[in-house]
Amino acid sequence: MSDAASLLDVDGLQAWYGESHILHGVTFHVLPGEVVTLLGRNGAGKTTTLKSIMGIVGQRTGSVRFDGAELIGRTSDQIARAGLAFCPEERGIFASLNVEENLLLPPQVRPGGLDVAAIFTLFPNLKERLRSQGTKLSGGEQQMLAIGRILRTGARLLLLDEPTEGLAPVIIQQIGHTIRALKAQGFTILLVEQNFRFASTVADRYYIMEHGRVVEQFANAELEANLDKLHEYLGV
C-alpha cells in the first residue's frame, strides 16, 4: 500500500511492551493534508501504533517513514524534531507548570508553527487561564491545551490519541471544529478514536484495527456502506 506521495508510511510495524507482542505488522499510510482515523476496540493496538510511530514503546520493528525518512531506530526526541507531534490520550498536562508554561513547553522543531495568538483564536478559553496550574483546568480545557501546545512546534503531522474521550458533546463539537480548521491550514492529522460518529465529522479515511493489525480501510464517503462491518468490528 506504499505510496510515493505519502507523508507517513507505516509498513509491517511490530511492537512489544516487555514480553507482550502488541502490534503484529501494522501497515497504512497518510497523505499530506489528510485526516486519517484509526478505529478499533480497546486493546486493538491503536494507541500503541501512535506510540510506536513516536518511538516511545520498548521495542519495534518494521518501517515507519515520514516524508521519506525512516524513523525506526531513532529516539523519540529525534522523531519529534523530524516534524511529528503527539497528543497523548491522558493529555499529559504538567501539574507543576502553569497553563502558559505548558503551552510554551514543546520546543519549535521547524519553522511554520502557529503563533500563540493564533492558538488563542482557536482556543479562547486558554487565554483567560494562563496563570492557572495546568491540571486545574477542566477536562475540555486540558484537551485544548494539549492540542494547542503542539501547534506551535511547526510539526506537520499531528498524532491525536482520543481527543474526545470523556468530554461533553459541546466540547467534542469544538474539538471537531478545531480539527477541521487545522486541516484547512494544511496540517496532516492521524487520529485515534473509539467514537466513529465524531470521527465521521472530520476524517477523510479510516483504518480499522484488530488484534494489532489493520484489517479494513475505507474512505469517509464509504462510511454508510460499511456501517454493518464497522459495528461488527467495534462491537457497538
Partner: protein
C-alpha cells in the same frame, strides 16, 4: 551583660550564628540532593564525598597551582560537576528503571571508594585552609562579633540557593526540568533531549555540593571524612523538607541549622539528636515531608 531567658545574649547570638552557618551548608547540600532526586529519582549518597572533593579541589589548586579561594569557588563546581557527569554516564543511567535500592547501593559504594582514596593520600586529620584575605576580620555588631567570612558564607549560600530556585521555578529551562520530572517520556516526545538534561542535572547538583565544600574549607578544615559527618544530618534535613521539593530543601536547611543552634543554648545535651527527633516526628505526622507532595 544582657541576657535573654537567662542566657547571655553573646552566647545566644553566637550559637544562632553557628546555626545559620550550619544551616547554609545544610541548605546547599539538601538543595543538590533535592534537584538530583527530582530528576533522576536517585538518592545520591555520594553527595558527602562530592562536597569533600569540592573542598579538596580548593586545597589542591592552592597548594599546587597557587590559585586562591575565589578561583576555587569557580573551578571546583566545574571539575567536581564533570566527575558527576562521568558517573551519571557510566553508572547511574543504567539504574533508572531499577529499584531505588540499586541507586542507593551504587552511590553509597562510590562514596566509600572516593573517601577511601582521599584518606589513603591525605590521612584523616584535617588540612588547614586559610580564610581568603578579603574576608578576614569581622564586624562588631554591638550585641555580637560577626566574622566577615561567616557573613559571606550565609550571604553566598542564600544567593546560590535562591538563584537555583529561580532558575527551576521561574524560567523556561526550569519548566523543562519540572516537566521532565513529572513525565520524561512525553517531554522527550516533544523533541527535548531528556537523557542529556538528566546528565547535566546530576552534574549541577554535584556542583552545588562542591560549592558548599569550597565554602566549608576555611571553617571546618579540609578532611576526607568531612562529608561523611555532615551528610547524615543533611539526609535528615531532606527527609524533613520532603524529597524533591526545592524551596522545601532551602527553608528546611536554614531552619534546622537555627534549631540546632538554639538547642545548643537551651538544652546542649540534645543538640546532636534534635534534627533526628524532628525527622521522626515529621515522618509520623507528614510522611511526605513538610514541603513534599504525597504521591
Amino acid at each position: 551583660m544582657i541576657s535573654i531567658f537567662g542566657i547571655p545574649s553573646q552566647a545566644l547570638f553566637g550559637q544562632l550564628l553557628i546555626g545559620l552557618i550550619n544551616g547554609s551548608f545544610y541548605a546547599l547540600l539538601s538543595l543538590g540532593l533535592a534537584v538530583i532526586f527530582g530528576m533522576l529519582n536517585i538518592i545520591n549518597f555520594t553527595h558527602g564525598a562530592q562536597y569533600m572533593m569540592g573542598a579538596f579541589v580548593a586545597y589542591l589548586v592552592l597548594q599546587y597551582l597557587g590559585l586562591n579561594y575565589w578561583v576555587a569557588l569557580l573551578i571546583a563546581p566545574i571539575l567536581v560537576g564533570l566527575t558527576g557527569v562521568i558517573i551519571e554516564r557510566l553508572f547511574l543511567k543504567r539504574l533508572y528503571q531499577l529499584d531505588h535500592l540499586y541507586g542507593l547501593l551504587l552511590t553509597f559504594g562510590l562514596a566509600l571508594i572516593i573517601q577511601g582514596v582521599f584518606r589513603n593520600y591525605y590521612g584523616s586529620s584535617g588540612l588547614p585552609y586559610q580564610v581568603p584575605e578579603l574576608l578576614r576580620g569581622g564586624q562588631n555588631l554591638g550585641f555580637m562579633f560577626l566574622p566577615n567570612y561567616r557573613a559571606w558564607v550565609i550571604f553566598f549560600s542564600l544567593v546560590v540557593c535562591l538563584g537555583t530556585w529561580f532558575v527551576i521555578e521561574r524560567t523556561r529551562l526550569g519548566a523543562y526540568l519540572r516537566a521532565a520530572t513529572e513525565n520524561p517520556t512525553l517531554v522527550r516526545a516533544f523533541g527535548i533531549n531528556v537523557p542529556r538534561m538528566i546528565t547535566l542535572t546530576y552534574g549541577f547538583g554535584v556542583g552545588l555540593a562542591a560549592i558548599a565544600g569550597v565554602m566549608a574549607a576555611p571553617i571546618y578544615n579540609v578532611s576526607p571524612l568531612m562529608g561523611e559527618d555532615i551528610i547524615i544530618v543533611v539526609f535528615a534535613v531532606v527527609v524533613i523538607g520532603g524529597m524533591g521539593s526545592i524551596m522545601g530543601a532551602i527553608v528546611t536547611g536554614f531552619a534546622l541549622g537555627l534549631i540546632e543552634g538554639l538547642t545548643k543554648v537551651f538544652f546542649p545535651e540534645a543538640s546532636n539528636t534534635v534534627i533526628f527527633v524532628i525527622m521522626a516526628i515529621v515522618l509520623l505526622i507528614r510522611p511526605a515531608g513538610l514541603f513534599g507532595r504525597a504521591t
